[in-house]
Symmetry: C2
Subunit: 159 residues, 2 copies
C-alpha cells in the first residue's frame, strides 16, 4: 500500500476509533445520567451528544459528497447553546441518529478518491486553497477527530 | 509540495493547534482554579495538566528521537491516578515544563524524514509492523492529538 493511501486509512481508522469509544461510553452513561451536566453549570450530556450528531451530519456537505440528513438538529445543537427550555428530541431518537450519522459517513468517505481527499474542502475558495493546500478534505476529517475527542473527554465525566 | 509532505505538515499543524489552544486555556484558568476538580469527584486540572506534560515527554522515545526529559513526572501523572496526598510539583513548575516539552517536541519532529514518519514506532515489533503498516510514527502523533483534545475538553470546564 502506498503511503498516501495508508494515511487516509490511518485517519479513517482514528475516526472509527472515536466512534467506537463514543458508542461504548454513551451506552455506559445511559439514558438517565446523559441528562446531567458534565460539570455544574456546563453543558448536559444530551446537548453534547446532540451537538456531535448535528456537527457530524454536516461533514458530507464540507466534503462535497452529499447534504445533511438532520437539518432540524442544527438549531438546537449548533446554533444555540444548551438550554433547559429548548425543545430537543428525546435521547432514544438522538441515540439512533448517532448510529445513523456515523454509518452514513463511512459511505461518504468511500466515495472519495485519493485525489479527492487532497482537494479543497467545500467551505473555502480555490484562491485560498492555492495559498494553503493543507486545507483539504483530509484535514477537515483530522479536525473533526480532535473536536470529537474534545467532547468525549467531557462526556466521560458522566460515567 | 507532494501530498506525503503535505500530510505531515497537516498533522504537525493540528498538533500545534492543540498546543496553542491549551496554552491560551491554561493561562485563562490560572494558578488558582487549576487546582479544582473538572467535575465533582473527577481529576483536578493540575493533574490533567501534569498528565499531558508527562505523556508528551514520552513522545521522543516512541518516535525514536530521544529520551524523556522529565522522568519524575511519570509516577505522579501517568502511573498513578489523581490523589490529593501525592507529592506533585507546583503549578508554576508544571507550567514551565508544559512550554518546555512542547518546544522540544518541535525539534524532535524536525529530526524525522518522510520515510521516518512512515516507519514503525518504537513500541512495536518489526513483525507486527509488517502486518499493519498503519502503526507508524505519524499514527502515534495522530493518536496523541486526540488524547490531547480529549483532556482539553475537560480542562475547558474550569474556565
Amino acid at each position: 500500500m502506498q503511503n498516501q493511501d495508508l494515511i487516509i486509512k490511518m485517519v479513517i481508522n482514528n475516526w472509527n476509533l472515536q466512534v467506537g469509544r463514543a458508542t461504548a461510553l454513551i451506552d455506559q452513561i445511559g439514558h438517565v445520567e446523559i441528562y446531567k451536566e458534565v460539570s455544574p453549570g456546563k453543558n448536559r450530556g444530551i446537548y453534547i451528544l446532540g451537538h456531535l450528531v448535528a456537527y457530524h451530519d454536516l461533514i458530507p456537505e464540507i466534503l462535497g459528497t452529499g447534504e445533511r440528513s438532520l437539518p432540524h438538529l442544527f438549531e438546537p445543537f449548533i446554533k444555540n447553546p444548551d438550554n433547559l427550555d429548548a425543545q430537543i428530541p428525546a435521547y432514544s431518537e438522538i441515540r439512533t441518529y448517532f448510529d445513523q450519522v456515523h454509518s452514513e459517513l463511512l459511505v461518504h468517505f468511500d466515495k472519495l478518491s485519493l485525489t479527492d481527499w487532497f482537494s479543497r474542502h467545500e467551505a473555502m475558495t480555490d484562491e485560498d486553497f492555492e495559498k494553503d493546500p493543507s486545507r483539504n478534505k483530509l484535514n477537515v476529517l483530522i479536525n473533526r477527530i480532535s473536536h470529537f475527542a474534545y467532547h468525549l473527554g467531557q462526556l466521560r465525566l458522566l460515567k
